[in-house]
Amino acid sequence: MEKEEQFRYQVKTIYRIMVMVFSMVGLVTIAGIYLITDPTLSVFKETTETTPESLYVLNEEDEDKIENGIHLRTGLIEAEGLMEVVNNCTNCHSSKLVIQNRMNKERWIATIRWMQETQNLWDLGGNEEIIVNYLVTNYPPGKKGRREVLTNIEWYDLQE
């Protein structure tokens, strides 16, 4: 009796494994056939865009999202002229280069001329004034003197 039950148990186990293997093979085959006919998975396009996991994917609406006065995608300050700066000044180099720098009107214009003469920057037309105004208003030079005091010191107990 015991042997018979054991045999039955073994058969059941093998049966379960077989079912699993066949369904796996089946699934892979279906997925494979599907991928051949639709390699870009375009059918899932709309559905995945609404799932929470895909929220980090920038879509057109998020792209120019502003939070606390900062244009998230570039880190630039939200103010008049922002989009002109984004569209003309972040194609070749990062917005980080703009944000790091502090110049007056004359030197921002000189920088634009240099980029036009040597770096393939296009004629900015009427946008030039808007861009320069944005830059001098939002990123003006501050006085640093000949040596600044140490700031943002993170104090810690030195263990030795």
Partner: protein, 406 residues
């Protein structure tokens, strides 16, 4: 469960790649340019850098260290600054990489593979200090244009390669030779294939020095991609822009090399001193050669709090461009008094030197420890900013850390 996760992730990835990202100006984007969003956006993983490194710019990549990260005697890759002018070349095949020696003053134009270089010429290993000409730019007033480096655009790694001199002499140098200029595989930011992001060089006397290498190893391993794999020119003690990365051609010129960032105001300072903010004509700007004397306190990290009566050990590195550091001092009273401390001899010429000291603080309170190096010609680091220059180069003002005694 695993399978489901995998399918979910894969679907998401593919969807993100094909559908999610809207690219402004896709129509004017240069062909072959891969938008940043499609590259791995994590520079720390991408370049194997420590998380504490500071990204100044992500297009092109410019990343600097902080003083306390540079504590190692030989800088490991994870703490080495990255200064790029263009886009890092892609799909490099070390086996098909070649270096061509050409120019007006080469006797015979010659091309070498990396294995030619390795088998034909003797190999040398040196510790070489590389500092960006604009290291410390952020402190200038009026501010200077460019990446706002603080203190961390300096490194001293161990470079292995062949002497540039041996290779140049193998091709043959005419008497008319004045300068060498490098050309490399990095791409211009605008995508224009006719533009070089940077093509600098050095006068023959620097090119022919023992320590000027065509390197294929950094710290005993192949050079990391961001630092010039598979072949890099290394000219220690001069602005690091002389040490061209991804080098595939070196021209022996019969005049001062006129490549990108050799002319105009790039890597130049006024030939004669100017007042802060003064305009300087291009013809009054002179090419930077040796970097000035400088030092960095790498231990402890600024902001240390210690108990009264406890001694503070400090240490760091000092370097002096083409020269050596002859004396090292520190001050805990804002320069009223200076105390000399020990500084080691360099491992080889152009390597940075290590200093250390043990400090007693007289009272409780706020202190700054200032470090000052003096080179073999008697020049010391200034406590205030050195001479202002339009592009903000050569800031070798004393480094300091904050310390509190409680």
């Amino acid at each position: 469960m695993e399978r489901r996760d995998f399918v979910k992730k894969a679907t998401l990835g593919v969807t993100a790649a094909i559908a999610g990202v809207h690219i402004v100006f896709a129509d004017v984007m240069p062909k072959g340019y891969e938008p940043l969003l499609h590259q791995d956006p994590d520079p720390f993983k991408l370049f194997d850098k420590d998380k504490e490194m500071v990204v100044l710019n992500d297009k092109p990549w410019n990343i600097e260290a902080k003083a306390h990260l540079l504590d190692d005697r030989i800088t490991p890759n994870k703490y080495m600054f990255v200064r790029n002018n263009g886009l890092i070349p892609e799909n490099i095949d070390i086996n098909s990489w070649t270096l061509t020696i050409d120019g007006e003053s080469v006797k015979q134009k010659k091309t070498y593979t990396i294995s030619d270089l390795k088998s034909k010429f003797k190999q040398y290993t040196y510790q070489l200090t590389l500092e960006c000409g604009g290291n410390g730019r952020s402190e200038f007033d009026p501010p200077a244009k460019g990446n706002q480096w603080t203190v961390g655009a300096v490194s001293c790694a161990e470079w292995t390669g062949v002497r540039l001199r041996d290779v140049l002499e193998d091709a043959g140098i005419k008497d008319t030779a004045v300068y060498i200029g490098y050309h490399a595989a990095d791409k211009h930011l605008s995508g224009d294939p006719d533009k070089e992001p940077i093509s600098r060089g050095a006068p023959m006397r620097k090119a022919l020095q023992d320590e000027t290498l065509l390197a294929f190893k950094m710290n005993g391993e192949v050079i990391p991609l961001a630092h010039g794999y598979p072949l890099r020119l290394v000219a220690g003690g001069w602005p690091a822009s002389v040490s061209g990365k991804w080098v595939n051609r070196i021209s022996i010129r019969n005049k001062i090399h006129d490549g990108t960032k050799m002319t105009g105001t790039a890597y130049r300072v006024p030939c004669n001193p100017v007042a802060p903010g003064e305009k300087v004509k291009d013809e009054d700007m002179c090419i930077i050669e040796s970097m000035p004397v400088k030092s960095l306190i790498t231990y402890p990290k600024s902001g240390a709090i210690i108990n009264k009566g406890k001694k503070l050990k400090i240490r760091g590195h000092a370097w002096a461009g083409e020269l050596e550091v002859a004396k090292m001092e520190y001050s805990i009273d804002f320069g009223s008094t200076w105390i000399e401390c020990s500084v080691e001899k360099p491992a080889n010429r152009l390597a940075w030197q290590h200093f250390s000291a043990t400090i007693d603080f007289p009272e409780k309170g706020y202190y700054e420890v200032w470090a000052r190096a003096t080179d073999t010609k008697g020049a010391s680091q200034p406590m205030i900013l050195p001479g202002w220059n339009p592009k903000g180069y050569l800031n070798n003002a004393c480094h300091r850390i904050a310390v509190k005694v409680k």
